[in-house]
């Protein structure tokens, strides 16, 4: 625990030092990045120790009232599962970010970055509602400042504003939830768990809804996700990787932690989470398909993957509620492993997108193409990430989705009718999401990296430097490693699953044992696959030797195929976006060709977010109009404001005397 605390302190100090050294950009970056890497490594060691060695650590520093009993931090397996990807990604993104920002770094950017990493660590370590909320708010603010890094751009300001509103609405629900819980005891998590176990059912329901909305806003559950596709593309790429890879997972962590306080889960909680998961998953990937901007597309995929995690959680809580420990353990394990995996491959993909932005100057899919030749390292890493995020074997994405599938199938053959239906819908949802994700990532990888460059910009793209390529390579290797060593990774998750299942280590281990044989076989099949690929490559080389000839692409008789004839991202996705047009409501602007030699024909599509346009925009317009009534209070005279202050003080005084 001392190591973790030292890590936190180093992160904060180096961040502060970096801000103070802002005059010298080079020193500022050196201090910030060095501190981030050192702090993350210090935080990583005890987290790994917790999972491998089964430690459970805690520390309490006295803290004056009224803020609770003290500054209490603890490290248990559930925290460790979130802490490991957090520190890994924090360090790798810092190394990448130093090269990515280069001279474009703002004065305080490393201060905010290190604060973000430290506050995220504090969120998963907090063992007290007050500490938790302070860390939560620090996390929101530091990430807000990172989103608004390019504050010269109107889009970044808009995104940051939206994020600010969304995160605070979410926090409001959390504040209410913790207030209700704390009113029945003290603010320490142990006390909350004791108080929560005795909650009457209606109150537990209210608290569940509050937690779902509050944490769901951070996690990006539909329909609370609207900030996400705006904020992630606006932030610098290494920050997007960190936010999308792990910051939104603090919502998942919070949900799992707090639901543990609320006594035995009601059956409908699982069903509700499952429904949220399937909705987020399917709609997330559909909206991703309709995007033209690489980072926006990746942001919608985070919504999709959060959906997959929620499906796992839903199955887990349903299994708990219906007394099916195997379903529960596999669902929770799948969700937790997907948290780690998504951090790895989404971090990788955002870093790859950053390298594309850096090298080609644009993230607009239809202005790219053929980058694999110019950027071989980035392209290969992005391909690994793309295969992993589609959940294809033998990479890590497949393993976590497989665990959730296993949970769903166990549900399907279970005696409880509700679980059967839930398993079936989870199954169908996952299958549809998998197919659509494959469509989306063949589109993203194919249009950006394959074919001919569509613009001169893309033709002149530059490969990223080594400081940007090494973090991507490390994450790509992790994608493979988690997949291949999955039988060894799974038992490490058992203690964390036991925490979620309220300290039932036998049930968790027994439930996970059901996945041991399949995972071993999957690794065997992956080995067979790799051997076959090697053998077939050798065979092909032997048959072909050096006899292959080069020519132009045979485009059915076109003598001079041009880059503009290629399928674009929009045309690739068009059959699917048309199929789901009632949901997507893509706007088209089309000037059709006229005459024999048409010139000046244009075609553009734009897909706005369904919920933002139909739910939030009207809602906020109405709120704005309603609040306009209070404008009379705002007269712009100082004496009036002093009067308000005096009246408030008087009211407070009277209240206290009561």
């Amino acid at each position: 625990m001392q190591l973790t605390l030292a890590g936190l302190v180093i992160l904060m100090l180096s961040g502060g030092a970096s801000a103070l050294a802002g005059r010298s950009a080079a020193w500022s970056a050196r201090l910030g990045v060095g501190g981030a890497v050192a702090g993350c490594i210090l935080g990583l060691i005890p987290a790994v120790g917790t999972l491998v060695g089964g430690l459970s650590l805690s520390v309490r520093i006295p803290w004056p009232p009224p803020a609770g009993r003290g500054f209490e931090l603890g490290l248990d397996p559930l925290s460790a599962v979130f802490l490991i990807p957090m520190t890994l990604l924090g360090a790798l993104c810092a190394v990448y970010g130093a090269a990515y920002l280069g001279k474009g770094a703002r004065r305080a950017s490393w201060f905010h970055y290190n604060t973000l990493v430290a506050s995220m660590m504090a969120v998963v370590l907090a063992r007290d509602a007050v500490v938790f909320l302070i860390a939560w708010e620090t996390m929101a603010l530091s990430s807000f400042f990172l989103v608004i890094h390019d504050h010269g751009k109107a889009q970044a300001r808009r995104a940051a504003w939206l994020y600010m509103v969304a995160t605070h609405l979410g926090t409001a629900f959390l504040l209410a939830m913790f207030a209700i819980l704390c009113a029945r005891g003290s603010a320490g998590f142990d006390a909350l768990a004791r108080a929560g176990a005795a909650l009457p059912a209606p109150l537990a329901t209210v608290l569940f809804v509050f937690a779902l909305v509050g944490f769901g806003t951070k996690a990006g559950f539909m329909p609370f996700h609207v900030w996400l596709p705006e904020a992630h593309p606006a932030a610098p790429s290494h920050v997007s990787a960190l936010m999308s890879g792990i910051m939104i997972k603090t919502g998942i962590y919070g949900l799992m932690r707090v639901l543990g306080f609320l006594g035995a889960p009601a059956p409908w909680w699982g069903g509700c989470l499952l429904a949220v998961g399937v909705t987020s998953g399917v709609l997330g990937v559909l909206f991703a398909l309709a995007q033209h901007d690489l980072k926006r597309l990746l942001a919608y995929h985070s919504v999709e993957n959060i959906g997959i995690i929620a499906i796992g959680l839903g199955l887990g809580y349903l299994g708990l509620a219906h007394g099916l420990p195997a379903v529960a353990a596999l669902g929770f394990a799948g969700a937790l492993l997907h948290v780690v995996n998504h951090a790895v491959f989404k971090g990788l993909l955002f870093l790859g997108a950053g390298a594309v932005l850096h090298g080609a100057g644009t993230g607009e899919l239809d202005r790219l193409g053929g980058l694999l030749k110019r950027m071989p390292g980035t392209g290969a890493a992005f391909l690994v990430g793309a295969v992993a995020i589609c959940g294809l074997p033998p990479l890590n994405g497949f393993v976590s989705e497989f665990l959730i599938y296993l949970s769903a199938f166990r549900g399907v053959v279970s005696p409880s009718a509700a679980v059967v239906v839930a398993g079936l819908s989870g199954l169908a949802g996952l299958a549809l999401i998998g197919g659509l994700a494959a469509a989306c990532f063949t589109k993203a990888f194919g249009v950006v990296f394959l074919g001919e460059p569509r613009t001169e910009q893309a033709a002149a793209a530059q490969e990223a430097g080594p400081a940007m390529r090494w973090p991507m390579a490390a994450l790509a290797c992790l994608c493979g490693a988690i997949g291949i060593f999955s039988p060894a990774v799974l038992p490490l998750l058992a203690p964390a699953v036991a925490v979620v299942m309220k300290g039932a280590p036998e049930a968790a281990t027994a439930g996970l044992a059901a996945a041991a044989t399949p995972l071993t076989w999957i690794v065997a099949a992956a080995a067979v696959l790799a051997l076959l690929v090697a053998a077939l490559s050798a065979l092909r080389f032997r048959l072909l030797g050096a006899r292959a000839r080069q020519a132009v692409t045979w485009d059915c008789g076109y003598a001079a195929p041009a880059p503009r004839m290629q399928y674009t991202a929009s045309s690739f996705a068009q059959p699917l976006t048309d199929l789901f047009a009632p949901l997507l409501r893509t706007r088209r602007e089309h000037v059709p060709p006229k005459g024999i030699f048409p010139a000046g024909t244009t075609f553009a599509t734009e897909t706005d977010d369904l919920f933002q346009r139909n739910l939030y925009a009207p809602l906020f317009r109405m709120t704005g109009a309603a609040l306009a009534w209070f404008r009379w209070a705002q007269q712009g005279r100082v004496q009036l404001y002093v009067l308000y202050i005096a009246l408030t003080l008087l009211a407070l005084l009277l209240f206290c005397v009561e």
């Binding site: 074997p393 079936l424 169908a428 299958a431 072909l544 132009v552 485009d555 059915c556």
Partner: protein, 302 residues
């Protein structure tokens, strides 16, 4: 173990034969003599000896496509049980691995197609991902029905537990699953009414247009991989529709093989008697397959 190995060897040897049977059936309906039954084998042998021509646009991804695709199909063949014998690899939920191996195959075929920069291949790739995204839920839901019916989670366990007695108990359920699987087999293997494997220059084609630029051994890998995919997905259908259990492994296997040949004839008949559905209607067909699988589940739960 021996039986499972026989199964795999049989799949590797006999898969291209299915193509021959389909072609002969179509020839019979058209009043032609048709190609030799073993034409697919001659084609493969010829292609393996040929040179290859690569587009200057392409990268290593294009060359990796056929290799990875065939490797996936071969691995999938080791997973698929036939005629009551277990698959060579068999474990709970192996059906997910089977489905996702074809997912890897498709992913690499599609990116290889996009690597050429050809508008035709982009078109085919786009359609492929659309239809497969809809076919996948139909396949998995159908398998979930069989899992629920038999209480088993592995393909081998599920199909070994099926018997004529299962038909007596829940015939309509299995029949519906069979219908759904038939649509999946036709769609995933690019057969009429979803795709026309005979023409590949029309704007309507899917799989054939994606592999337009492949030649020589690469194309042989693709053809053989496609034949294996037909065999593996076809064997799922035959296992559901024809659960013959005589007690003798050899007889069971013979019955299953006869079933595979019947399936090939059936595909030939469908291709001869039906026109290709308009592309815009294909999603309806696939969603129909999903609904049929769902209906089977409702019948089962009733």
């Amino acid at each position: 173990m021996f039986l499972s190995l026989t199964n795999v060897v049989l799949a590797l040897l006999a898969a291209p034969l299915l193509l021959g049977v389909i072609n002969r059936t179509k020839a019979f309906f058209a009043g032609r003599r048709g190609q030799p039954l073993l034409q697919a084998y001659y084609d493969l042998a010829k292609l393996l000896r040929k040179d290859a021509v690569y587009s200057r646009t392409t990268t290593w991804v294009f060359r990796a496509g056929p290799v990875v695709g065939l490797a996936c199909a071969l691995t999938a063949a080791a997973l698929a049980p036939l005629g009551g014998a277990r698959g060579l690899i068999s474990f709970p939920c192996d059906l997910i691995l089977l489905a996702y191996l074809f997912g890897v195959m498709r992913f690499f075929t599609v990116v290889a197609a996009l690597d050429t920069g050809s508008s035709f291949e982009g078109m085919g790739a786009s359609r492929e991902v659309q239809f497969s995204a809809l076919a996948e839920p139909a396949l998995l839901l159908g398998l979930a029905v069989v899992a629920r019916l038999t209480g088993e989670l592995s393909l081998s366990g599920m199909f070994a537990a099926l018997s004529p007695a299962a038909y007596a108990a829940s015939g309509p359920v299995l029949a519906l699953v069979g219908v759904s699987f038939l649509v999946v087999v036709l769609a995933e293997n690019s057969r009429i009414p979803v795709d026309d494997p005979n023409t590949h220059l029309e704007l309507t084609m899917i799989h054939e247009v994606m592999v337009l630029d492949h030649s020589g051994p690469d194309f042989a890998f693709i053809l053989y991989g496609a034949a294996l995919k037909l065999w593996v997905l076809g064997s799922l259908l035959v296992n559901v529709v024809l659960p013959v259990r005589t007690g003798s492994a050899a007889l069971d296997l013979a019955a299953a093989l006869a079933g595979m040949l019947c399936l090939a004839v059936l595909v030939g008949v469908i291709e001869s008697c039906m026109a290709r559905v308009r592309l815009l209607r294909v999603p309806q067909l696939l969603v129909g397959a999903v609904v049929v699988s769902g209906l089977a589940f409702v019948l089962l739960l009733r």
